[in-house]
């Protein structure tokens, strides 16, 4: 039986935080206002003493926890393999950085670390004993353009399954199940002057799974404008979409998932995510033994300013939580009725 809890990643408030309109404390207070009890903190964004947890910072976080009843439940780590100027980090360096992130998460009281795919399956296996030592689960984020079934994630799956460790696994991002271009890539491109016919043609190339190089050539042949090309690269890359969401792949890895990123870009007036099939994804998770958080992750930081939506980040997260709660309540109702 699943046990799904809703939380928020403070990354959702990126714009307000960077502009110093919301302090870290304000972001946590917003979580309390929105009715969640747990948040994810992106270490390289909001931990002022990064890459360490200073006594000062720890005291602040615990103070906010006491005040607002909201605690950090996930530590968003970055696997900065390219941070040195002349070479990639080697395995030993990647492992030591990850162990430090595990220690930091443990100090903050987080049970989960979000790591990134640059860590490597072999290194994930090597840090498993440390994860267990500190009681922190380390999950590799499955983010666009990856899905649970892409080759890299399959390699992680094999290693995780074979290890028998309960402390290494996955953090899928809902965005990897997108079934249409998101609002920035489509409606945003139109607003920026993209030719609709050419843009629709670019979308159709992705839907037909035309390989990137070939699609690029076809678009250049018809002199697609720079706005369309920009959108095209997004649609084939970090903001990609698939005709069918990889829910079968999700089912397979669910026993190894301990955290989810509830990615969203736009909640429509009828309470749906514009490009991500939330009902289908939540149904799949609901019908599993998943126990953990889904943290709302708003990615449309500039959407209001661009005139694509008429709500700010906080309101966006409120709408997202409302959508999730409605879907989960419906699933619970049907579940009870079915008995």
């Amino acid at each position: 039986m699943s046990n799904i809890k809703l939380g928020i990643t403070l990354y959702s408030f990126t714009k307000e935080y960077v502009r110093e309109e919301l302090s870290l404390e304000d972001c946590i207070r917003k979580c309390a206002e929105l009715g969640v009890d747990g948040y994810e903190i992106v270490a390289t964004q909001m931990i002022s003493s990064y890459p360490y947890i200073s006594d000062d910072f720890l005291t602040k976080i615990k103070g906010y926890e006491y005040k607002y009843g909201v605690k950090p439940i996930s530590y968003g780590a970055n696997t900065d393999r390219g941070k040195l100027h002349d070479r990639d980090l080697n395995d030993s360096e990647l492992i030591n950085d990850t162990i430090r992130d595990i220690r930091n998460a443990h100090n903050l009281g987080c049970k989960v670390v979000r790591a990134q795919y640059l860590l490597s399956p072999e290194n994930l296996l090597r840090i498993a004993p440390y994860a267990e030592e500190y009681g922190v689960k380390v999950g590799i984020e499955i983010h666009n353009p990856e899905t649970p079934s892409t080759p890299i994630m399959q390699r992680y799956f094999e290693v995780i399954e074979k290890s028998g460790s309960k402390y290494i696994g996955f953090v899928p991002d809902f965005g990897c199940f997108a079934t249409r271009p998101n609002i920035e890539s489509y409606e945003g491109a139109l607003k920026d002057g993209a030719d609709k016919n050419v843009l629709d043609y670019a979308v159709s190339l992705k839907r037909k799974n035309v390989p990137l190089q070939e699609a690029e050539k076809l678009l250049r042949e018809i002199s697609a404008d720079p706005v369309v090309m920009n959108s095209f690269y997004s649609m084939y890359g970090y903001l990609t979409f698939y005709n069918e969401p990889d829910l079968e792949g999700l089912k397979k890895i669910l026993p190894y998932c301990f955290h989810f990123h509830g990615k969203f870009h736009c909640i429509t007036e009828d309470g749906k995510e514009l490009s991500i099939p939330y009902k289908d994804i939540l149904t799949t998770i609901y019908n599993s033994d998943y126990s953990g958080y889904i943290v709302s992750e708003y990615e449309g930081h500039n959407n209001q300013e661009r005139g694509l939506v008429d709500y700010d980040s906080v309101e966006a997260v409120r709408l997202h939580l409302k959508m999730e709660r409605n879907i989960l309540e419906e699933l619970e109702k049907n579940n009870l009725a079915g008995r």
Partner: protein
């Protein structure tokens, strides 16, 4: 494919921060502050390019200091600072040695600041250590305070 990221929420060149600085009663140069244009901080070793022009004249690298966390680095030293973290909320201070400083009034400040995104390998690249570039460049007229 020229994939370059630009994620910008605040001014890069900080308004109202261009000033001459003194030592023993003499103006030795000028300073101004810079905010990193991104959503998260970076280690200084992620900086790939740093260049400065004032009123269209290039400033020699030997006269520039990048100041952060109570430390001062030459442009050449930046690439080795893999333990020095530039927090997204913290302005860095750029200190330029120029005896006599800047004249009062507006000055065109052209900052070239490119970073490497250390967790995003460039899609489609076969080279090792090849990452998506982050554009944190800016050009503004700044008034001497």
């Amino acid at each position: 494919m020229a994939l370059e990221m630009r994620i910008n929420f605040t001014n890069i060149l900080c308004k109202g921060t261009l000033k001459n600085y003194y030592l023993q009663g003499q103006i030795e140069g000028f300073v101004f502050q810079v905010r990193l244009s991104y959503y998260r901080g970076h280690f200084l070793s992620a900086i790939d390019k740093f260049g400065l022009k004032i009123d269209d004249e290039a400033i020699p690298q030997k006269d520039i200091l990048f100041c952060l966390n109570d430390k001062e680095f030459t442009v050449e030293e930046l690439k080795n600072q893999s333990n020095e973290f530039w927090n997204i909320l913290d302005p860095a201070t750029i200190k330029v040695r120029k005896l006599g400083g800047l004249k009062p009034g507006n000055h065109k400040v052209t900052l070239e600041l490119m970073l490497r995104c250390p967790y995003l390998p460039l899609p489609g690249s076969i080279r090792e250590h090849h990452y998506a570039p982050i554009n944190s460049c800016d050009e503004q007229f700044m008034e001497l305070c």
